[in-house]
Point group: C2
Chain length 347, copies 2
C-alpha cells in the first residue's frame, strides 16, 4: 500500500482526516486539521494535500463545500500501513477479566458473556460464532428413552458443548439397551471429531460381522441418525445491537432497518464470520468488502478463538465503518485470546 501514500505529510493528513472523522462523525475541514495535529502548515497546504489524496481515491467529498471523509480504501490504507496497534491497558484487561467472574461454568454462558463483553467495551455490537458441531471433538454420547418410540440422543464434546436430537424409531427399545449402545459407542469413538466419527460409523456399518450383531448394528444405526441432523450448524450470539443506534450516521431509519434485518437473518452473518474462521489474528472487513447485502455501511473486526491447535469459532465487533479501530482491534484480539485461554482452562 506504500505506493499510494508518498511522503510523510500525506500520511499525516490522511491519518488526521480519519481520526477527526472517527471522533466527530462529520467531514473534516482543512482548517481544523491544520490547527490540531501540529502539522505547522497552513490550511491551504492541507487542502492541496487533500486534493491529492482525493485523486488517489483515499478521501472523498460529500459535496463541494464540505470537508473530506475517508473512503473505504482510505480506511484500508490507514489500518494496514499507518495505524499502530497498541496493547490494551492493564486496567482494561483487568476489567474484561472481571466481567467473566462466575460466568464460565458452561460453554454457552461463556460465549454469551463474551458477546456482552465485546459490545460493552466497544460500544458497538458484539458477535460470537459458536464452534461448529462437526469439528468439535467427541466426548460422550447418551441415549434417553423419552417414550416407547421416541428417544433423545445427547452428544457432549470435549469443549463442553452439548447437543441433543429427538429421534423417532420404529420398534421400541428399553433404556437398558440404550445404555448398552452408548457404552459401546463411547468406547469406540473416543477422541474423534464428529466428522471423523461419522466416517468411522459408516466404516463400521460395512463390516460383515455387524450385520449379525443386533446390538452393534442398532447402536450404529441410532448414532448415525443422530449425526445426520445439521452438524454443520453454528449458533450466533449478538449483543448490543442498540449501541449501533447511538451512532449519529444511523439517524437514517431506513438504513438502520436494513442492518437490523440482517441481524435477524443470522445465516447471513454466520456466513460472513465463517469466512474469517481460517485466517489467524485479527481480521478486518470494511464496509462493502464484506460483500453481504445490507452490510455495506458497517465494518467487522473479528478474530478466531481456539483450543489448543483447534480453531473453534470466531468472535468480533460490528460497528459503523467509522468506528474507533485503534481501540477495538486490540479489544477483539485480547478477548479472543482470553476466551481461548478460558476454554482450555475450564474444559
Amino acid at each position: 500500500m506504500e505506493e499510494f501514500v508518498r511522503g510523510e505529510r500525506s500520511r499525516q493528513v490522511l491519518e488526521a482526516v480519519i481520526l477527526e472523522y472517527i471522533r466527530n462523525g462529520v467531514p473534516a475541514g482543512s482548517r481544523a486539521i491544520a490547527k490540531r495535529y501540529g502539522l505547522n502548515v497552513s490550511p491551504a497546504t492541507v487542502r492541496n494535500v487533500m486534493a491529492d489524496l482525493e485523486e488517489l481515491g483515499l478521501l472523498y467529498q460529500p459535496h463541494t463545500s464540505a470537508g473530506r471523509v475517508p473512503t473505504e480504501l482510505g480506511l484500508r490504507v490507514y489500518i494496514d500501513s499507518i495505524l499502530k496497534i497498541q496493547q490494551l491497558s492493564v486496567a482494561d484487561r483487568a476489567r474484561i477479566r472481571q466481567s467473566y467472574r462466575g460466568r464460565v461454568e458452561r460453554m454457552e454462558g461463556l460465549l454469551k458473556e463474551t458477546s456482552r463483553v465485546l459490545s460493552s467495551f466497544s460500544k458497538q455490537a458484539g458477535v460470537v460464532l459458536t464452534p461448529r458441531l462437526s469439528q468439535t471433538v467427541f466426548k460422550r454420547i447418551e441415549f434417553v428413552r423419552m417414550r416407547s418410540n421416541v428417544i433423545m440422543t445427547i452428544l457432549v464434546s470435549q469443549a463442553g458443548t452439548v447437543h441433543n436430537t429427538i429421534l423417532g424409531i420404529e420398534e421400541p427399545i428399553s433404556q437398558e439397551d440404550l445404555d448398552k449402545y452408548s457404552r459401546y459407542l463411547n468406547d469406540m469413538l473416543q477422541d474423534l471429531t464428529l466428522l471423523q466419527m461419522k466416517e468411522r460409523l459408516l466404516e463400521e456399518m460395512k463390516k460383515e460381522k455387524v450385520l449379525f450383531d443386533r446390538l452393534v448394528s442398532k447402536a450404529l444405526e441410532l448414532s448415525q441418525k443422530a449425526l445426520q441432523t445439521n452438524i454443520e450448524e453454528s449458533e450466533l450470539y449478538i449483543d448490543g445491537r442498540t449501541n449501533l443506534l447511538d451512532n449519529p450516521e444511523f439517524t437514517d431509519v431506513e438504513q438502520m432497518r436494513r442492518i437490523f434485518a440482517a441481524f435477524e437473518e443470522k445465516s447471513r452473518i454466520i456466513g460472513l464470520l465463517d469466512k474469517s474462521l481460517a485466517a489467524g489474528g485479527v481480521n478486518i472487513l470494511i464496509g462493502s468488502e464484506s460483500e453481504v447485502r445490507d452490510m455495506e455501511s458497517v465494518s467487522l473486526i473479528t478474530s478466531a478463538y481456539t483450543s489448543g491447535d483447534e480453531i473453534l469459532g470466531t468472535l468480533g465487533v460490528i460497528g459503523p465503518t467509522r468506528m474507533d479501530y485503534s481501540r477495538i482491534i486490540p479489544l477483539v484480539d485480547y478477548t479472543a485470546k482470553l476466551v481461548s485461554e478460558m476454554i482450555e482452562d475450564v474444559f
Copy 2:
C-alpha cells in the same frame, strides 16, 4: 366497563375511531368517521359524541385542530367490551401448521420456530418464554467426566429440554463411578419436578445411613450441586424486532432506541411475561399497564402454553399499542394451543 360507554352510538364511534386509528396510524376526524362506518349521522353529531368520549377519558386529542386518538383506557374498553374475537380462518391455521413442518424435533427448535411464526403472522415482534427449569418434570440425569476434577452434569426433562452444568470437584471421580451415581439417582428421582427433586435430595441427605454409604452420599452431593445453579431461569426467544421499525409511529429514533434496549435486557421482558404465566387464556397489556420502563408505548398480547395440566411457558406478540388486536388475539390464542398440542404429541 359498561358504565363508561352508554348508548349504542357512543360504542360505534369509539370502535370507529379505534379501527380508523389502527388502520392509518393518524388521528381520526369526524368527517371520515361519519362517511365510512355507516352511522348515518353528520360529522357534527360525531363530534359531539367524540367530545363526550374525550371527557370520559377514552379518546384524546393530540392538539386542538387534530382528530381523535384512543387512549389506553379507550383501547381497554374496546378490547374488553366491544371487540368480538373471531376465529382464525382455516387457511391461516393451515399456513401456521405448515410453518412447523419438520422443525419440531427438539423443544428448542419448536419454540424458536414459534417466535418466528408469531412475528411473521403478526408483522410485529414475536416472543416465547421457555419453560422454567424448576417446574419441568425430571427424566434423567447424566454425569460426564471432562477432566480429572471437572465434570458435567446433564439434566433431561420429560418435555425434552436439556440443561447442562460444569462442576468443579475436589477429588477425582472415575466415569464408572459417575455412571453408578446416575443410575442410582435416575431410579430415585423418576417423575419429580426439579423443585420436588431438590427437596427430595435434601431429605435423603439427612437420612443417617447415607452418611455411611459413600456412593450414595457422593451422588447426592453432586446432583445437589447441579441443581443449585439457577433452576429458576427461563430463556426468551424474540423474533421480528425489525417489524417494529416499520410502524410509522416509531420514526422517532429515540423511542425506538429505548424499546430495543429493553429487548436486549431480556430479564425485563421475562419478568413481564412471567406475570401473565398463571392467567389462563389470552392476556393483554396495553402500553403503560405493563409497568415496565421503556415499554410504555407498546402492547403485549400473550397466552400460556401447556402440557397436560402443567403450564410450561408464555408466548405472545409485542407491537405498538396501535396494533391490529382483532387479528393478533386469535393468532396468539391459536398458536398457544397449537404449541401445547405439539408438545404433548411429540414429547
